[in-house]
Every structure is written in structure tokens, then in C-alpha cells.
Subunit: 281 residues, 2 copies
């Protein structure tokens, strides 16, 4: 297996595909999904939206429940949804198989600590290996890319955009972890993958990256007001303060009554995709 | 437990709820979902769309993957998704626990055969007990009801509408079983629930009902052209012939390339809901 098609299903006039390949970065098979809108049939390269998922998710959660296909079909967007960690026999997991570290919780970093360093290379996978595959196998215009994500994937989208400002024309997030250095999920993950020296953490913390001078043109964030993780883990006020201090335009919308689930994400998916499409035009 | 709320989650400005109650018809707890659009807050009664699911499904499949909330929120439609059979300890199942009979496969009939007759009363549940609960607990205008369904649930929607023409203003289906008397799924189910006398089957077969004089104003059906069950089980041409002979307006759309999954259903959900909303106005 170098690259294989798991399934392709017609939907909204386009094709929802699931693919698998042997990843050199993670040393494991990796699965991801790609929606090709109907415009792909005409052959001209189309803009790409990356969607990074949150803790416990695979590519399947957003693929089944994200309600992105209708807007992507209308707007002509390719939608790519990777997995959130390496998986399989021999891949080290959290010592107690907790949901917030190890499998399903790669945090979009390249681990430096044993025993995780060998497989947990999600930063290089998402920014290097997978884009090359997308370019090789799909009619993707890699000059027009956007990135978005949810929760841990919101952290991934923000940090990856801030570290690659010339690659992504736009970045948005649903209920992102904005500062893993300053929340329990992040402490556990960055400590486990990157070690105790918090200086190394700053390169994977959106607010710290902004404080240290990283910039994107603007950021869009939706955050549910009834999200159980809002105060303990997500803390959008930290991103707001960093953006204000840096003069970085942030549209932060608190959506009253919404929780942390796909019932929230799907409600605002269309709006985010339209926002990205304007910037990818 | 007479009626309890399992969960309520804000979505698309409305509320996606899941509810459970002790059913007198089935003698079991029954779970269903209701989406209340944002217009429900204003208090005026709103039209109701019933969605009947297919083999193996519970309320959860369409609730998670049906992509109906955006249109319901825009159009002001209450969306009700029941389960497809009784479930629980002591409920008889298929002898070999096959997917196409027993649990998850009630076929929307009242069984007359032992050991199914006691619990498998899905026709009376869907047409009597559950509507009374909906009327009692939700701001539903029971004078404006529509019904739709998928596969076995398309069979349910068509037969229930044909048997209750004054109750439903409109009926549509995705990939329905149009004549259970003339397909293997239906033979097994109607034989098991209703016995060997096929005269009793005609009251639960959409094409036979039409042949025997039952009428609705019109029917909308979408059918995927790449549906694995098209030729062996679904046979929309039988419905077409019955409608033509009866002068019953049928819009039957063969959608090339689409399969039997929610990737197909969700692609045309919006269109069906708009069609119903016009007739519920």
C-alpha cells in the first residue's frame, strides 16, 4: 500500500472519498477523506480547505457530521480531513489510554520525547507529506489553501497557519484550544510530546506565537457559549488579548447556547466555508 | 418513565432533542428525536415533517447524518425521527439476528403473528401513540403534517400516507421499497409479521394500495442510480406503473451515480424539505 482508495461515494454532485496510505512520517498507515466538488470534473485546479479535527476524532467525524459538502459543492472547494494521530499495532498510547493524549490526540506537533517521537509526527505529516499527496492525486490548486479546525484541531489550524503564513490565505476555528501552555489538555500533551522545557512549547501555542511575532492577516473564531470546556480549556480571551496587543484582526463570535459538539460545528460550517471562499477567490 | 428528555442541543438556532417514553403500543421504552426550529420560540404552532428510517437504523442515523436542520431552521419545520422497531430485553428478534427482520426492521406494520404481535406494533405507534405525544409536548400544528422516509422508511411513509390521506398534506421518499410483496425483504418481513396470507399484505404495500384505490395528491421519489438494492429490492418501476394506471402524479427522479447511503439522502434532503414546506404553507 502506498496510496489506496478506501471508498468513493457520490454526494451533492461531487465525490466523497476516503483514502489510505503508508506514511513515511508516522511509520503507520494513515487514513484521510477528501471531498471533490462537482467543479473538479471540469479539470481546472480548485482551492483546498484543510479541516483539522479534535480529540478522539478520526477523519470520519467531520465527514459524516460536518455538513460541509453542500457549501463546498456550491463554492467549488476541495475539503480535506486528516486523522488526528498515528494508529495501529505498536504505536504508543497514553499510559492509561486516556482520550486526551496518544491515539486520537496528536496535537499537530512533532514529538521529541520517547516513546512518541518515532510515530507522533503530525506537524510534518499535515504540513509536508499529506499536502504532497493531495497535490499528486487531486486537482488541487496549492496556491489557494485555507485551514480550519475544531478544538484541538482549532489549535492545529491556528498554529499551522501562524507558522506558514505564506501558504494559507485564511484560517478559522470552531472552539479552538488557543493556548495549550495555559490549559490542562495542552500541559499534558505538550509535556508528553515535547518534554518539560516550556520554551519548546511556544512554537505550538497560538497565543505565544502571536506574542513572539508570528502573524496572519486575520482570524475567524466561533465559540459556543454553553461549551463545557470554555473556561477550563479553551479560553478564547487569551487569543483575543494577544491579537489586540499585536494588532491582528480577530473576529471572535461567542454563540450563546451552543456546546462543543458537531451540532455546533455544523451550524456555522457553511458560514466559515463562505468566509474562506471569499479569500480563496 | 412516561416521557423523558434524553438530551437537548442547540443547533442551527433551534433545538435538537432526543426523547424517550414508555410505549403502550410496543410495551417497551421508545426513543425518538425532534428538531424544533428557531421559530418555535415565538410560540405559534409549526408544521411537522415525519421522517421514517430504513433497515438497521434508529432515530440517530438521520439525526446525525441527514443534514435536515439548516432547511428546517429556515423553513420553520418541526422534524420528527422515530425508531424503526421496539427494542430491549424480551423483544423477539429474527431467529438468526439478521438485519432485515426483527430489531431495527419493524416495517411499520402491526404484527399479527406470534411471537411478534405483542411488541411489533409500529403502525399504531407511528400513526397513533407518537403523534399524540408530539402534539402534547411540542408546538406542533397537527393540521399541517408531511411524511417522508428512506428505503424501509420510504415504504412506511408511502403506505402510511396512502392509508391516511387526510392527515398528510405531502409525502416523499428516498429509495423506497415500493412493493414489499414483490421483493425479498418484504416477503420475509410481511410473512413474518402478518403471516402467509398475502391478502393481508396488500394493506402494507404502496403499489397494491394504489391498485386497490388508495390515493394521495402526489408523490415525490428520489432514487440513486448506483443503489445496490435498486433492481432486487426497490423496483421503482412498479410504483411508476401503479401511479400511471391510477392517474396519480408521481415525480420519480433517477439520480445517476448515487448509492443507498446518507451521502445520497443528505444530497436531496434540502430539496425534499422545500417541496414539503410549499405544501405545508
Amino acid at each position: 500500500m502506498t496510496f489506496e482508495t478506501v471508498s468513493t461515494t457520490k454526494s451533492f454532485g461531487g465525490v466523497q472519498g476516503v483514502y489510505r496510505h503508508a506514511s513515511g512520517e508516522t511509520g503507520t498507515p494513515m487514513t484521510f477523506s477528501v471531498f471533490l466538488p462537482p467543479q473538479a470534473e471540469a479539470g481546472a485546479p480548485l482551492p483546498v480547505v484543510w479541516y483539522l479535527s479534535g480529540l478522539t476524532c478520526t477523519h470520519a467525524n467531520v465527514t459524516e457530521k460536518g455538513e460541509f459538502r453542500k457549501a463546498c459543492a456550491e463554492l467549488g472547494l476541495i475539503f480535506v480531513a486528516p486523522d488526528t494521530s498515528p494508529r495501529g499495532e505498536g504505536v504508543p498510547d497514553d499510559a492509561e489510554a486516556a482520550y486526551d493524549f496518544g491515539l486520537g490526540a496528536g496535537f499537530y506537533v512533532d514529538a521529541t520525547q520517547a516513546p512518541f517521537a518515532e510515530n507522533y509526527r503530525m506537524y510534518s505529516y499535515i504540513t509536508g507529506e499529506l499536502p504532497a499527496l493531495i497535490q499528486a492525486h487531486f486537482p488541487a490548486d496549492m496556491g489557494r489553501q485555507a485551514i480550519m479546525g475544531h478544538s484541538m484541531g482549532g489549535h492545529g489550524a491556528l498554529t499551522i497557519a501562524l507558522k506558514n503564513p505564506d501558504r494559507f490565505r485564511s484560517v478559522s476555528a470552531f472552539a479552538p484550544i488557543v493556548s495549550p501552555m495555559r490549559c490542562p489538555w495542552g500541559h499534558k500533551a505538550l509535556g508528553g510530546y515535547l518534554g518539560r522545557d516550556q520554551a519548546a512549547w511556544r512554537a505550538h501555542d497560538a497565543t505565544a506565537l502571536i506574542e513572539d511575532g508570528a502573524r496572519v492577516k486575520e482570524i475567524l473564531v466561533d465559540q459556543g457559549g454553553a461549551d463545557n470546556f470554555l473556561e477550563s480549556q479553551l479560553k478564547p480571551e487569551l487569543l483575543q488579548a494577544a491579537c489586540e496587543a499585536a494588532g491582528l484582526p480577530l473576529t471572535l463570535r461567542l454563540q450563546p447556547g451552543y456546546d462543543h459538539s458537531y451540532y455546533f460545528i455544523s451550524s456555522f460550517m457553511d458560514d466559515h466555508l463562505r468566509w474562506h471562499a471569499e479569500r480563496l477567490a
